[in-house]
């Protein structure tokens, strides 16, 4: 996709990445120790698909941040990368929702506690942050594969406790001040807060198939009657997946919301690199 290449100005990477890394580690104890976990390879089954699409997408093992990015970490990033400060960010890459809960450019303020997940972040900004850490955003398939895990099993939606927590969160309005990322319970592979804190950007969020008219979400026929979204669904009972898909479909890359954050991912080194 061409627009990924023209996303943002190339930063002075070597210098600033080192600076950002230093600030990030210094400013945030929560990410101390192992910052990411291995999500084992698996299959991601999209909730809706066109008949020509494959039923399952194979996902290679990858490294995923344990926690979503916090305000403190993002503060370190905008400190090191002035072009991503609220007052300076290009309107091409972030609309007026960008960091609007912060008090100032370098002052998160009372609505953005240091250890709470950062929100009101555009997709462009999330990608820039990841690149500055020499990481990337997880793909939709990677994120969904990681998020499918329950507290104790690989299939969370078969775990009553997991489902209860998930739907309680999905039903609740977003609090004015988000809780610390430390409040999130770890799921099977060790990642925390994939559910229960904020929605999260994925690299290819714009491939979600939901249109604004949920009942017409079938690639071959735009005119299905009420409930049509379910006609092409692999599991119409997986309401949580529908909600994530609807959320992603409602977004534009420039905009953020008060419940949308992100975390980073990294490729595992290829086997040939290992001794």
């Amino acid at each position: 996709m061409p627009r990924r290449r023209l996303c943002f100005p190339r930063p002075l990477r070597p210098l600033l990445a080192v600076l950002g890394l230093a600030l990030g580690m210094g400013g945030h104890a929560l990410r101390g120790g192992e910052a990411s976990v291995i999500i084992p390879a698996g299959d991601y089954r999209p909730i809706t698909r066109a008949t020509s699409d494959p039923e399952a997408i194979a996902v290679a093992a990858f490294l995923l941040d344990i926690l979503p990015i916090t305000n403190a970490e993002f503060l370190a990033f905008v400190t090191a990368h002035p072009q991503w400060r609220r007052s300076r960010v290009s309107p091409l890459f972030a609309d007026e929702t960008y960091l609007r809960h912060w008090t100032g450019d370098l002052d998160p303020g009372p609505a953005a506690p240091a250890d709470a997940p950062v929100i009101n972040i555009s997709w462009f900004a999330a990608r820039a942050y990841a690149r500055a850490q020499t990481k990337r955003l997880p793909t939709l398939a990677e994120w969904e594969l990681a998020a499918a895990a329950g507290y104790t099993t690989p299939v969370g939606r078969d775990e009553p406790a997991f489902k209860q927590d998930l739907y309680t969160w999905l039903s609740a309005p977003t609090p004015e001040v988000l809780p610390s990322v430390a409040t999130a319970r770890a799921t099977l592979h060790g990642a925390r807060g994939l559910h229960g804190l904020v929605w999260e950007w994925v690299d290819d969020f714009d491939t979600a198939m939901v249109t604004g008219e949920s009942r017409a979400d079938v690639a071959t026929d735009q005119n299905l009657f009420c409930g049509g979204a379910a006609a092409s669904a692999t599991d119409p009972g997986d309401y949580a997946a529908f909600m994530r898909q609807a959320l992603r479909s409602s977004l534009k890359a420039r905009q953020g919301t008060s419940s949308l954050g992100f975390r980073c991912a990294t490729d595992l080194p290829p086997p040939s690199d290992q001794p």
Partner: protein
């Protein structure tokens, strides 16, 4: 009018680049493209502009008095809130305008409506709106798909008059509707509706909570219950008791009451009924033609509506129910209309008389009477043939009589036979009972009604007849028991004695 763009050419170039970027992405994103403001023809531009009056249930905006179309601006806010669903129990509702059902919208046939859907920044999810009053794909759903903290606008012309449901159509739709995202929009016919003295707004919805009915604490949506259509609550206006007590609808005797009634669902059809009233007029399914008069219960489909009119003639409380009554009795589908004013006892008298009714014995010659006679003969034959029964001693009769007593008599006369002073006469040491054997048999067989003095205390109660309930043998047994217990002493009663009195 849009102001001329004062930005420098450099910035304009950037904006163009941005637009190109957005359009290349839009097809893949599935994001509804923004197609720009509609160019209204001069005759529409010339119409007067007004902001729609929106009301929270159970209230309805005032009737439209103008007889010409207008451009109406509707501003509806989507907000996810926590509110009371039942005593001590909260629920996370998703709302249009902060209430369940959402704000009532009232426009006129021919109006051109500029609709703004504003999704509050605190919303967890994107939402949209499908107005059944809209002619066009999705009823506006695709054009109003709105991320949290954003606002969408579209325009429609109200071509068809009627009472229409609106609802959220974002996947998973049953959850959005199940959390309360529905309301009513009335498109008045060009000449208006007939006048009514009182107009109210009531909507039924089914709710699927992750806990029991009024289970306390905060409840949220339960997906499996929703899929299985096993609602925890079936509610009028989004809460148990939303139209009860000081929140009841009110009217005065002689007024013509109109209910704009809709069903949001997501699943259940309502058998809408007002206890003690007859709908004088029903605009069936919310259409604009008077479809029926004198209706007891009208069926309202999920995603449908009705308009009912009825004149209230006598004071009292009239109860709104879904006449699928487990929903009213167990799941909350109850509302009240309190009517005040003078009585009219010819139309409705109130309770005039309360009297005792003894029921009736089987009539002579009836099948039941014949069967009874057959059974009695069988019993007599059995007694004769069976030495155990034939040789029944007084003690055995008392033991059997005690069983009869403890099944039929003790509730009033108490196990101790002492009765209840002033209410139920005593049997223990009862001068009245012990004085006349035949009279005692008669009372058990045929009941008793009226004043009686027992051990010096006057009683004026009712004893129901047991002649249809107990066999002659059981009557003999129980009389033997009560006349030989609690300090009483008498000869055993025989079946022949009972039969003799019965034959009187």
């Amino acid at each position: 009018m849009k102001p001329a763009i004062p930005y420098p050419a450099r910035l304009a170039g950037l904006l163009l680049a941005s637009l190109a970027l957005a359009s290349s992405a839009s097809a893949a994103e599935g994001y509804t493209p923004v197609v720009g403001r509609v160019q209204l023809p001069p005759d529409v531009v010339a119409l007067p502009i007004e902001e729609a009056v929106l009301t929270a249930p159970p209230f309805v905006p005032p009737a439209i008095t103008r007889r010409t179309p207008a451009r109406v601006v509707v501003n509806l806010e989507v907000k996810e809130i926590t509110a009371r669903i039942a005593d001590g129990t909260d629920y996370t509702f998703w709302t249009y305008g902060g209430t369940v059902p959402g704000s009532f919208i009232r426009i006129r046939e021919g109006d051109v409506v500029e609709f703004h859907l504003n999704n509050h920044p605190s919303s967890k999810l994107p939402h949209n709106i499908d107005l059944h009053a809209v002619t066009g794909p999705g009823g506006g759903a695709a054009s109003t798909f709105t991320a949290p903290g954003h606002s969408s606008q579209f325009t429609f012309k109200a071509l068809n008059p009627g009472l229409y449901v609106y609802h959220c159509a974002t996947a998973p739709v049953p959850m959005h509707i199940g959390n309360g995202m529905y309301g009513l929009i009335l498109v008045e016919p060009k000449d208006g509706l007939p006048p009514a003295d009182k107009e109210f707004y009531v909507m039924q919805g089914d709710f699927y909570a992750n806990g029991p009915y009024a289970g306390g604490g905060l409840q949220t949506f339960d997906t499996p219950k929703s899929i299985d259509e096993r609602p925890t609550y079936v509610l009028f206006n989004g809460a148990v008791g939303s139209l009860v007590g000081d929140k009841a609808l009110t009217a005065e005797v002689g007024q013509n009451v109109r209910l704009f009634f809709g069903v949001g669902g997501p699943n259940l059809t309502s058998s809408f009924h007002v206890i003690g009233e007859i709908f004088d007029k029903v605009w069936l399914e919310g259409g604009n033609r008077l479809a029926q008069e004198n209706v007891q219960t009208t069926m309202v489909p999920s995603g449908g509506s009705t308009i009912v009119d009825f004149k209230v003639d006598v004071p009292g409380t009239y109860v709104l129910v879904d006449h699928s009554l487990s929903r009213a009795f167990n799941k909350g589908a109850i509302g009240m209309l309190k009517v005040t004013g003078p009585e009219d006892r010819v139309i409705y008298s109130g309770k005039e008389v309360d009297a005792v009714y003894f029921g009736s014995s089987a009539e002579d010659g009836s099948a039941a009477a014949k069967r009874q006679a057959e059974l009695e003969q069988e019993i007599a034959a059995e007694i004769k043939a069976n030495p155990t029964i034939a040789g029944l001693t007084k003690e055995m009769q008392m033991a059997k009589g005690k069983q009869v007593y403890m099944q039929n008599c003790f509730a009033c006369h108490l196990p101790s036979g002492e009765g209840m002073a002033g209410v139920f006469p005593p049997l223990a040491k009862s001068d009245y009972m012990m004085a006349d054997r035949e009279r005692s048999i008669r009372i058990v067989l045929k009941g008793m009604n009226g004043p009686v003095t027992v051990n010096g205390v006057e009683y004026n109660g009712v004893m129901p007849p047991q002649g249809d309930v107990l066999t002659e043998e059981q009557i003999a047994d129980v009389l033997t028991y009560v006349t030989n217990n609690w300090g009483n002493s008498a000869d055993a009663f025989t079946v022949d004695e009972v039969r003799k009195v019965k034959g009187e």
